[in-house]
Symmetry: C2
Subunit: 445 residues, 2 copies
């Protein structure tokens, strides 16, 4: 039992220890489902909060604060019993020793669950990785928000209209839900907010464009939903370029696969994800997209006490031969099933196979404009938009956050003015050091 | 008129141009009072938002988000006419040319108003400046919040209780309103929140201490208010060390003027301010605390068309021979008077002298605990606390922000749990780069 304390201050116990890496939809749901079921749970995440990713685009477009969609894990787990949260990064699994090697030390486990999700996939384009903005975390979203606001301030200082346009234009790579929702929200800012706040700029020159390699936007949804979404985007004045790849961005100019190019400082990359990395598993453990291959109980191929759930996992089933979509629903369902199975395994019962139940897909393009593919049928427009709002409001955790988001949405809906356009830079990055120091002497004398 | 456009894209005009440096209480009030009065107004600030400083301590203690007390200037000035806001830092006044030199170029003025406020005064202690946390901006407040949360996470990893205490302890230099309000809020976190979220730590060992050089806290208030505040602080378990200076902090240990020392990673410096610096004025323009000496019309001594208002100014009057206190009330009143006087000066009327009207002082120490010195008398306890809450709620700008703050306060009051404990680090500072890169190859292959 001694080695159980390899991470200082986590008490040893006679209970079986489940170490869960990642507190996203999958990891946090699993943690909550296992509480009080006779395990010692250790939850690790690189952040001290859980984040409701579907609304990140509203953080990027100044509609919500990060705190409205982020949940401090210690608060979620208050008075939850034998559960220990630590901020840590997973470095390696030492499966032979039943230990996970982390940034804060080694940790013994009885069961280890990989739930670290996915990250932006730049498909090896290093230069894109350096110049483009990604959209996977609250920090990413704030960076996009700040970058757009800074570019608008910069545009005001340009006397050459062409250069001003370069600062105003926004190019979005990828026409999935993230790209579409972001483009729609930005188009509404261009329509309702920027004209009031930047009357000195010619906003008719501002271009918002989506570049999508596939022949349609929202390729994961039905053709009908795609067609409606395209119509809505065009209605909002978003340029949609299908069957078009972005090949190059040097920080000012975007070069496209058709040979043309567009002047734009801002390039937002939402063109795909790859599973987060972990060392120590054999090469054959991985499948498409860097995802970890699992059986119907979410167990990895090489070790019986290691599991993977959510976006990081790849379960090939007769119904989903290419694995489930990397969405919140699949992560939550797998977490619930795994919690049941761990309890069963612990008491020697037979584990159950996982089967994904697709509850439908939703995407919002703008005010009163959304599309939904539901098991009962396809809806669009205002009805889909109301449904989208309700689903997101009720899926998000915490009464206070629901109230805050509801208040924000209601306010924004009636005022046409989400108002969080604050350029808050971390202190050491501000210009404070550039201030003249001369008066210091005067002041001190 | 040509030179009027030295900053690109600000149109020339036949109106007299007022350049206002700083959008704090003084600068923003002046801007709003001058709207529609026949001037071209140019407002400059290093941030794109106005900030309600009195509630910064609640940002630092995770009770409010920065956005709840920050106001995007472009939003405040929507549809306001001939007013131009730019993010800029003032480098120098070229009074001979009637120009101000800024980080974004030169700018002609007819009237120039310095309203850049004050910053933390470390009294020349460089080492303190490097190791201590200050409390003058939203970035400062977030840095304090993050620093305390990080230290608690660190304390969890320590097996040596002495080292854990070093991470938990908090030393506050200065017993003014900022220090007192911060100490009270932290003491309430220790009582209501930390025990639920850090059950593994021995919080009885956490020390929160105020070090004040003067013989009493809240020295600007009445002796009676000081005595009540001291009692309240002690009731909350805050150590108050009067007539004690902090002489040294090496990042782990605080050395005091009485020769003793205290183990603490966190040192918050709220011991004084010095006026912000500006180059180009003659040495005799400055008075005590680096403040700019002004006459009864807030005009600086050397130039008839340059003014200073708010914390950066020093007006010595018979009633206030050492100048007015550096508080919001004085800044707002001076801004209103100067707006009137500029209109009068423009139409050849005689300007009026400024006279400060002290409306009273308030400070809150904790839940139901506050002190108030009012013209009508002194109050304390619950009544003062309610008054404090109402005054702050109604002084803050914007219906939405009032609603948000009211919602937050009500929530926190009844749940004893302000919940914004999210460690959101700017992206390039996160540990993301430490993640193993090996799977990238697998994913791309």
């Amino acid at each position: 039992m001694e080695n159980m304390n390899a991470i200082p201050n986590i008490p040893g116990t006679n209970k079986k220890r489940v170490v869960i890496a990642g507190a996203g939809f999958a990891g946090l749901k699993l943690t909550r489902k296992l509480l009080g079921k006779g395990f010692q749970i250790i939850l690790l995440d690189k952040n001290n909060f859980h984040q409701f990713q579907p609304l990140l685009y509203q953080v990027a477009t100044a509609g919500l604060e990060p705190s409205a969609i982020s949940f401090p894990l210690r608060k979620v787990l208050q008075n939850a019993g034998d559960v220990h949260f630590r901020i840590a990064e997973i470095e390696r699994v030492d499966a032979g020793a039943n230990e996970v090697v982390t940034s804060i030390g080694r940790l013994k486990y009885d069961y280890f669950v990989l739930a670290m999700g996915a990250k932006t996939n730049f498909f090896g384009q290093k230069e894109m990785e350096n110049n483009a903005l990604s959209m996977k975390s609250a920090s990413d979203a704030i960076l996009i928000r700040n970058s757009i606001l800074e570019h608008f301030e910069q545009a005001l200082l340009e006397t050459d209209p062409k250069k001003a346009e370069q600062y105003m234009n926004i190019a979005i790579v990828g026409g999935g839900p993230t790209g579409v929702e972001l483009a729609g929200a930005l188009a509404e800012m261009r329509k309702y907010i920027f004209p009031k706040e930047y009357p000195e700029l010619d906003l008719s020159k501002m271009r918002i464009a989506i570049y999508e390699a596939a022949p349609r936007v929202l390729a994961a949804l039905s053709e009908r939903a795609s067609a409606s979404a395209l119509k809505y985007l065009q209605k909002l004045g978003v340029e949609v370029h299908l069957k078009t790849r972005v090949e190059h961005h040097d920080g000012s100019c975007v070069r496209l696969s058709d040979g043309s190019s567009v002047s734009s400082k801002t390039l937002i990359w939402s063109a795909g994800v790859t599973a987060n990395a972990v060392l120590g598993l054999p090469q054959e453990a991985y499948g498409r997209g860097g995802r970890i291959l699992v059986d119907r109980q979410n167990r990895i191929r090489s070790h019986t006490n290691i599991f993977a759930i959510g976006d990081i996992s790849l379960m090939e089933t007769p119904k989903y031969p290419n694995g489930h979509p990397q969405v919140a629903q699949a992560a939550l369902q797998q977490a619930k099933q795994l919690a049941k199975n761990l309890v069963k395994a612990n008491s020697g019962e037979k584990e159950e196979d996982f089967e994904y139940r697709d509850k439908g897909s939703l995407a919002t393009i703008g005010r009163n404009l959304a599309v939904a593919d539901l098991p009962v049928g396809k809806i669009k427009g205002f009805a889909a938009w109301v449904l989208w709002s309700l689903v997101h409001l009720f899926t998000i955790m915490g009464v206070k956050n629901r109230m805050l988001i509801f208040l924000n949405w209601t306010w924004n809906y009636f005022t046409y003015d989400q108002s969080l356009r604050i350029l808050l830079k971390p202190k050491h990055l501000s210009n404070e050091s550039k201030l003249p120091e001369v008066k210091k002497e005067l002041a001190d004398s």
